[in-house]
Amino acid sequence: MSEKSVEGKDERGVNNKTISLPVSRVKLIMKSSPDVSCINQDALFLTTKATELFVQHLALSSYNNGSGKETNTLSYSDLANTAEETETFQFLTDILPKKILASDYLKSLEQMEEDEEN
């Protein structure tokens, strides 16, 4: 369903604007990578477009795998779960850590200490 809407959007956008993210900002991010010296215009365009596709893909996969379907919501934990469970999103686990309660964390710490003692 989303695939269709994405394609539809592309077709409409063909003659005017095919990307909505600001190219200049994407370029800035790319240039912040230390080894990169030059980026040609097509590569910049493609990266920007790919980022849009990525945002859609991440949002949709998280929504479809997530628990919010009944309530019509996409929450942080849906994203964190997707990052952990989907191989292509593994690179996100560092910035999408799973949330745990402080009490649970303390418990698991205690557990680990006990294990070490034994």
Partner: protein, 149 residues
């Protein structure tokens, strides 16, 4: 150069719109989720850039080109993006050509440069789309901004 850390974020309004377009109507996206997706997008750009850059370096080029980005997508296992990316790039190029009517000039440039491009031959299967854009390192006029800073 990015002077503040916020400079490396993508605009929230645009990210929100893209998320909304991807999801079914009426889905509520929490503020935290939107922020996380936006950060994920920045990380994606960096990851893709570094993959693409390693392809460019392997081919001893200083300038990232479209083929490098496409190869990076494959490497990152986002093959699903390749067809829409190809379409978008084609449309983008058409738009540019229409504006500049520079296709004739480009063809001539390409013929001139064919000799210097032999070393790239091995990668050309991956780059069918990119035949017209092998211009390298500032030999081109205006359209490519190879700014070095």
């Amino acid at each position: 150069m990015a002077e503040r850390p916020e400079d490396l974020n993508l605009p929230n309004a645009v990210i929100t719109r893209i998320i909304k377009e991807a999801l079914p109507d009426g889905v509520n996206v929490s503020k935290e989720a939107r922020r996380a997706i936006s950060q994920a997008a920045s990380v994606f750009v960096l990851y893709a850039t570094s993959c693409a850059n390693s392809f460019a370096m392997k081919a001893k080029r200083k300038t990232l080109n479209a083929g490098d980005v496409m190869s990076a997508m494959e490497e990152m296992e986002f093959e699903r993006f390749l067809p829409p990316l190809r379409d978008a790039l084609e449309a983008y190029k058409k738009g540019q050509k229409g504006k500049k009517e520079a296709s004739e000039q480009k063809k001539k440039d390409k013929e001139k440069k064919n000799g210097t491009e032999e070393h790239d031959k091995s990668r050309e299967e991956e780059e069918e789309e990119e035949e017209h854009m092998e211009e390298e390192d500032g030999e081109n006029e205006g359209e490519e901004e190879d700014v070095e800073n």
